[in-house]
Symmetry: C2
DNA sequence: CGTCGTTATCTTTTGAATAATATAACGACT
DNA sequence: AGTCGTTATATTATTCAAAAGATAACGACG
């Protein structure tokens, strides 16, 4: 049996390569999986508040995410209305939808990378 | 100008894809960059204590890392001697050196992936 | 058997991120 | 003007992880 990384570890352990991925500008990191899901739910519910509730997240945290996103983008990706009919609400821009799509594809490539490395490790 | 992800963001921001990577078994994650550097320094100094100091890390934390590694591997990767000449000391096994090498190569492939994605994003 | 610097643990403290609480502002509509 | 549910923001608690501190055990060697 040729020396392999795999059998340095205890037998029976399910070793895998794992990681996380995000988009950042300078030190500010944003647009990981959480924010993307938030965008999707805002789009569906029309409300930051309800989107947050669905995710078991506080409104404050959701708002911070939205705010970070909006300050990093040329035009706000979440367009909000405070007050008004039904008290207000939020929708997401076309650019936001583009970002969601892009993020999904990026993530697919990343998980493929991880999978490949995990398989390679187990050889 | 065709619609591109890049110019959804504010002009002038240096957007990049970033991430982190580690090896894990079940829920236990280990062997990220920190532990690897620790192994290298233990190898050079012959002491967990000194290695930790060089990295500005507490001995306790270093020991926990070493302990986690040693309990995940078939044979201890850090072989320790408590007491004795000079009070004791630690060396690393050949397997540890293999792990260091493997991790370096893995990390190279990962940074290449990130770089590629960042470039693709900027097109 | 005393010395040495290290390994091995336990306990306490600190600090920072997260969550909870509270309150105000908003504006269409009746 | 009053109602509605939302957005906006500040303040206070809580939790949890990391750090710090303290103490004991270890064993070759003079």
């Amino acid at each position: 049996m040729p020396s392999s990384i795999k059998n340095i570890f205890k037998k029976g352990l399910n070793i895998s390569i794992s990681g996380s991925l995000w988009i950042e500008s300078g030190t500010e990191r944003f647009l990981g999986p959480g924010p993307v899901e938030l965008l999707e739910r805002i789009s569906k519910t029309g409300s930051i508040n309800q989107a947050a509730k669905q995710m078991g997240m506080s409104y404050q945290k959701a708002w911070r995410i939205v705010n970070t996103l909006n300050t990093q983008t040329a035009k706000p990706v979440v367009i909000v209305q405070t007050g008004g009919e039904k008290g207000g609400g939020s929708t997401i821009s076309d650019e936001a939808k583009q970002l969601i799509k892009y993020h999904g594809q990026l993530r697919e490539r990343f998980t493929a990378f991880l999978k490949k490395e995990t398989i390679k490790l187990k050889k």
